[in-house]
C-alpha cells in the first residue's frame, strides 16, 4: 500500500499553547487510521488542520503526493464527519446529502442516483424526505456519513464518530463503519478519546499526549507493547509495580524478583502486567507473589478480582475467565498466589 496522506512536522499554536507539536505521520491507501488521546491532546486540532479549517504554523500536509497545506477547505478532496453531525436543519435528508454534489455542479438524474446510492449505503433510503429533527441520533449519524461519503473523498475524517451514541448503538455502528470503510476503500481517519473504539476500528493507531505522538502502532502492539506508562495506562487496564532492573532481572522492593522479559538495561523501572495475564492459584508454584483477595466482581464473561499484596500501594487487578475453577469461589480475605509469564509483562522506563 502506498502513502496517501502525509502529515509532515505539523505544529499548531494557539497563543502560548502548543496544541500540536511537530507531528508527523502517514496514512496509507484504504487504511483505517485512528488518532487517539485524552481531551486536550491536540487530536481535534490535527484533524482540523487536515480538513483545512486550521492553518498550521509549521509543517506540510500532502495528499496523494500533492502539497495541500495552502489549499482552502472547500477545495480539498477530504471530507469531515462532524462530532455534532452538523446536519443542515432546514434541509431534508436528501437535501443534506445532495448539497455537496450540487457544489460540484451535479444536477438532475446523475445527482439523484448518487444521493440514492449513498443513502442506500447507510440504509437510510426510507428517510429521504425527513428533516434532521425528525431523526434519531443513530439515523442522523448515518445521514452525516452519507453526506461526507457521497463526495467520494480521498480521505474521510471522522471526529468522535460514536461519542454521542448509547452503548448498544455504538457497537452496531462500529461494525457498520468498518464495513463502509472496506466497501468504499476510502481511507478513514478517526479521532477519538475512546481507546476501545480505536482498538476495534483501526488498522493503526497514533496515540497522542500533549500535542505529541506517544506511540504509533497497530492495536495489538499498542495493547501488548506500550512504550511508556502513559500508553500502558491509557489503553485498557494495567497493573504497575515499581522497582529496579538489575542484571536483566526485575526486583520490586519487598517482593523480590518478579517474572519479566529479558534484555532491559539496568535502572529504575516499572513492571506492567495486564489483568487478564495475571494467573491466580490457591497454592504456590515457586516464583509467585502472594496476596489477599480484597473483592471480586462477576461481569458475565469474566470475573475481576482485586488482590492486596503486602508492600504494594495499589491492589493488583486480575481478570479470570468465568470458567476458571477459582472464579466462583474467590472470597474476601482469601489467600491467593499470583504469577504471570515473563514475556507477557512489559518493563517501562517512563
Amino acid at each position: 500500500m502506498s502513502v496517501l496522506l502525509q502529515i509532515d512536522g505539523i505544529t499548531k499554536r494557539f497563543g502560548p499553547i502548543t496544541a500540536v507539536d511537530r507531528i508527523s505521520l502517514e496514512v496509507k491507501d484504504s487504511e483505517f487510521f485512528a488518532i487517539l488521546g485524552p481531551s486536550g491532546c491536540g487530536k481535534t486540532t490535527l484533524l482540523r488542520v487536515i480538513a483545512g479549517f486550521e492553518a498550521p504554523d509549521e509543517g506540510r500536509v500532502r495528499l496523494a503526493g500533492a502539497d495541500i497545506t495552502e489549499l482552502k477547505a472547500n477545495r480539498r478532496p477530504v471530507n469531515l464527519m462532524f462530532q455534532s453531525y452538523a446536519l443542515f436543519p432546514h434541509m431534508t435528508v436528501f437535501g443534506n446529502v445532495a448539497y455537496g454534489l450540487e457544489m460540484e455542479g451535479l444536477q438532475g438524474a446523475a445527482l439523484k442516483s448518487r444521493v440514492t446510492e449513498a443513502l442506500a449505503m447507510v440504509r437510510m433510503t426510507d428517510f429521504t424526505a425527513r428533516k434532521p429533527s425528525q431523526l434519531s441520533g443513530g439515523q442522523r449519524q448515518r445521514v452525516a456519513l452519507a453526506r461526507a461519503l457521497v463526495k467520494r473523498p480521498k480521505v474521510l475524517l471522522l471526529d468522535e464518530p460514536l461519542g454521542a451514541l448509547d452503548r448498544k448503538l455504538r457497537e452496531q455502528m462500529q461494525i457498520e463503519l468498518k464495513r463502509l470503510q472496506q466497501d468504499t476503500g476510502i481511507a478513514f481517519v478517526v479521532v477519538t478519546h475512546d481507546q476501545e473504539e480505536a482498538l476495534t476500528l483501526a488498522d493503526r493507531i497514533a496515540l497522542l499526549d500533549r500535542g505529541r505522538i506517544v506511540q504509533l502502532a497497530t492495536p495489538r502492539e499498542l495493547y501488548d507493547k506500550p512504550v511508556n506508562r502513559f500508553a500502558a495506562d491509557f489503553i485498557g487496564l494495567m497493573n504497575f509495580i515499581d522497582g529496579t532492573v538489575v542484571g536483566s532481572a526485575f526486583d520490586a522492593p519487598g517482593l523480590g524478583r518478579l517474572p519479566a522479559p529479558n534484555g532491559v538495561a539496568d535502572g529504575p523501572a516499572a513492571l506492567a502486567i495486564r489483568p487478564e495475564r495475571v494467573r491466580l492459584a490457591e497454592i504456590t508454584d515457586g516464583t509467585a507473589i502472594s496476596g489477599q483477595v480484597e473483592g471480586a466482581a462477576f461481569l458475565g464473561q469474566d470475573v475481576i478480582a482485586h488482590i492486596t499484596v503486602p508492600n504494594l500501594a495499589r491492589p493488583i487487578v486480575a481478570r479470570l475467565a468465568a470458567g476458571h475453577p477459582l472464579s466462583a469461589k474467590l472470597a474476601r480475605g482469601q489467600q491467593v498466589w499470583l504469577n504471570w509469564q515473563a514475556d507477557q509483562a512489559v518493563i517501562l522506563r517512563d
Partner: protein
Amino acid sequence: MRKMPIERRLLTGHLGLVYLFLYGPIVVLIALSFNESGLPTAWTGFSMEWYGKMFANEAIRRAVVNTLIVAVCSTVIATIIGTLLAVGLERLRPNAVLEAFVFVPMIIPDIVLAIALLSFFTLLNVTLGLHSIIISHAIFNIAFVCVIVRTRLKNFDKSIVEASIDLGAGEVRTFWRITLPVILPGVVAGALLAFTLSVDEFIIANFTAGAGPSSTTFPMQIYAMIRFGVTPEINAIATIVIGFSFFLVLLSQRLNREAAE
C-alpha cells in the same frame, strides 16, 4: 368543582386587575369608535360611520401612504444592514464596547436621537423629507434587527457553516444556502419589529420630516388632528392600528415558535 386555595384566587384576581389596567382604556376606545353619537359620554348605538369618514379623509390617506413608504424602506434597509451586522459581530471575538454601541440607539431617548439627527442633516445640508425620515428610522431599527438576529445566532450551530465549506461551498454560497435560511425566522421577526416601530414612531419623524403634507406621516397626522380634540374618527384609526399591531405580534410569535421547533 374544588375550591381554589386562597393564594390561587388572589393571584387570579391580581392577574385580572393587571389585564383590566392594560386593556381597559383600549377596550373603551374600540367601543367608542363604533359609537353613533361620536361623544365619549353616551352610547347611542352601533355605527360604522366614523370608519367611512376616516377613509374619505384625504389627509389621513396620504399620511398612511407616507408611513407605509417610510416603514417599508427603513425596514428593508435596517433588515439588511442589521442582519449583516449581527453576523459580523458574531464572528468577532467578544467585545463589550462594540456590543454596547449596537444597543445605544435602542436605549437613548428618542428626543435626543431626533435632535442629533436634525443637527446632522442640517450640517450636511440634506433637505428634509420622507428620505430623511427613512434614514432616521433605519438607524434605530438597525439596532433592533441586529439584537433580534443575534439571539437567533446564539443558538446557531456554527459547525454547519464549516460543514458547508467542507462540502465544497464558498463563503457567499454558504451564507445564502445555510446561514440565512437557518436564521431567517430571526430576520423576519426583526423586520416585523422594525416595521411596527417605524409605523408608530412620532418624535424622530416630527423632527426630521421638514414642513408640508408631502412628508407627514400617520402619527404626525393624528397628532395634528388631536389638537382640535379627540374625534371619533381618531378612535376608528386607532382601532385599526391596534388590530394591525395585534396581527403583527401574533405573526412574529408564530414565526418564533416555528423556528424553535
